[in-house]
Symmetry: C2
Subunit: 378 residues, 2 copies
Amino acid sequence: MAGEAASTLGLSMAVLAESPTDAACDVAAEVIVGSPHVEGALRSLAERCDVVTFDHELVDLSLITLLASEGVRIHPGADTLALAVDKVHMRAVFVGAGIPVPAHAVLDLAHLDQSGMEDVLTSFGREHGWPLVLKAARGGYDGKGVWPADDLAQARAVLAPLTGHVLVEEHVEIEAEVAVMVARRPSGETVSWPAVETAQVGGVCREVLVPGRLPAAVVEEAAELGRHVADLAGAAGVMAVELFLTSEGLMVNEIATRPHNSGHWTIEGAITSQFENHLRAVLDLPLGATRPSHPQVASVNVFGGASGADPAGLLPHGLAIEGAHVHLYGKGARPGRKLGHVTVCGGDPEDVRARAWKAALALGSPRPDALSLPDGVA
Amino acid sequence: MAGEAASTLGLSMAVLAESPTDAACDVAAEVIVGSPHVEGALRSLAERCDVVTFDHELVDLSLITLLASEGVRIHPGADTLALAVDKVHMRAVFVGAGIPVPAHAVLDLAHLDQSGMEDVLTSFGREHGWPLVLKAARGGYDGKGVWPADDLAQARAVLAPLTGHVLVEEHVEIEAEVAVMVARRPSGETVSWPAVETAQVGGVCREVLVPGRLPAAVVEEAAELGRHVADLAGAAGVMAVELFLTSEGLMVNEIATRPHNSGHWTIEGAITSQFENHLRAVLDLPLGATRPSHPQVASVNVFGGASGADPAGLLPHGLAIEGAHVHLYGKGARPGRKLGHVTVCGGDPEDVRARAWKAALALGSPRPDALSLPDGVA
């Protein structure tokens, strides 16, 4: 999707891809096959580019730092990426800046013996109650690296195979999950899109509603928090800030320092998409307007169904839904894999949500049991 | 732009390009370098594709017919393309179907001697008045292949180097130039976008206004004419029908059997763009909604300025205009070459037109003397 935005602006994109069959290769002017963890591959990319950016955070910060020190323009930079790469670091920085986050403790598994670890868990559980949530500091995404634990025995079992740092976090009673996308230029100009309501099942985003059921005051507060986080992170590019709405207000859960699933709706639903503003931001070009182009937008993810059928074969069904903007990512179909999304814009929240779901299901995406779907969605 | 739409739908696009530096190559999964007039090159493309389509009409109809006879899916087909390739054929078919076109006669230069030619011109001039307009039956685009002639001497000079068929046409007093984009599936489903007002300078489109100053009745009549033409042409894909609005109503001037400049506004200004509906149509997939997403849309072309500066270097200025959707085509900058366009959507016709022009001029596009620009455009 970033490649589509690059093409629009007449920018030429080179990608560093793990495999020549990666979907991004189809819209790249140049493809370098290699790993971002290999210095030679990253250098190869940097030599071809005016600016290097990312579509995930699974990067090697020391390599980024090294290249940046040699004058390579890399946005976001290592300091910003570090916040997204390491949840323990992120929580510490946010607490220091007065940004609300869930109550948490840190387990340093390399330096704690079994009883030390159990002391932390027991004392945290006493203060904040069980169940609690364990999160690997690094490497998690889409619900991976996050484990609820009902009691000490479960926590012990989760931790047994882990190394490094692990966050111990309170189980937050959530009224809604909220996300806000922010775009920030290296020179500091910052804009945000309206906050959205997201629905997650098993830690994976299923739908994004704009503005969903969110009260205007929450939308406003989320935007302020988002811009605060982006400034604090020294973001360059777009950034997703995922928030929990609780009875006590908003708190920051996760961040992503790149275009994000919760911002896919902006392609058709806002004047400027997150992808175009990401490119504008990393190139330090003026940012585009972020206001929605429609009063209501719903975006629903398309996952591989149990049959393993490719949604591309179901396009006649998905495209038959009026106003459905179908995005397929060209990835190989596997049950449960995120293969695309559908966005519908309009005036009525139930109507746009229903049409987006109809199209996603028509494309073979499985019906999520844990989510109540709109009336009339078969 | 078709490549961007293909990527969105998860379709893989192969292009047959004259040069590996053609802009379309950057967003194509596969590039075949060659000419569409060379059988081997076209076969090479066809072998890789489920369906073959075009972004211009400068094709070899006999090759298309040959491949189609062997079962290659080519949309639009040779019969449709023939109308766009040959203006004499197009006029004859339209006259036969009762579609209003300018009064015209045909000069067959291979079979007319000088006095026969002058007889036709003199008698046409007597009936319809001078000046008249001469148009090469084949090969013209963007004002090329069209010559006004004030008198017999000028007409003689124009015709001297020409061969083949030439249209002799009345000079039409135009109240407005109108275009309508239609999308049609091979199975017959047809949709049209709202008709637009275009402004041409020297036969080249400078701006597209939606709906511009066009009365609702004209917009409606243009859509009907457009659908009639698309049905008559057996179109598969999108089609542009360019019309003259005269004191006596609408008449068809030109057609293009592909995505067209007068439909670029649909990328941001309509629910489904001409490019996505072109792909849907040639794949015989359900067509997307064509209603505008904003009450007013203005799209202004960006041409190379006298300095030969690349508009890419002026992006900071163009993108600074609020709401400006900048499209650069990645083509080498040359004075007068069409290098991109800018679309602005909104509620006020003067406002969107002014912003689109501001951005186009900021990108280095020259100010057209023959067009009155909105107030406040520097």
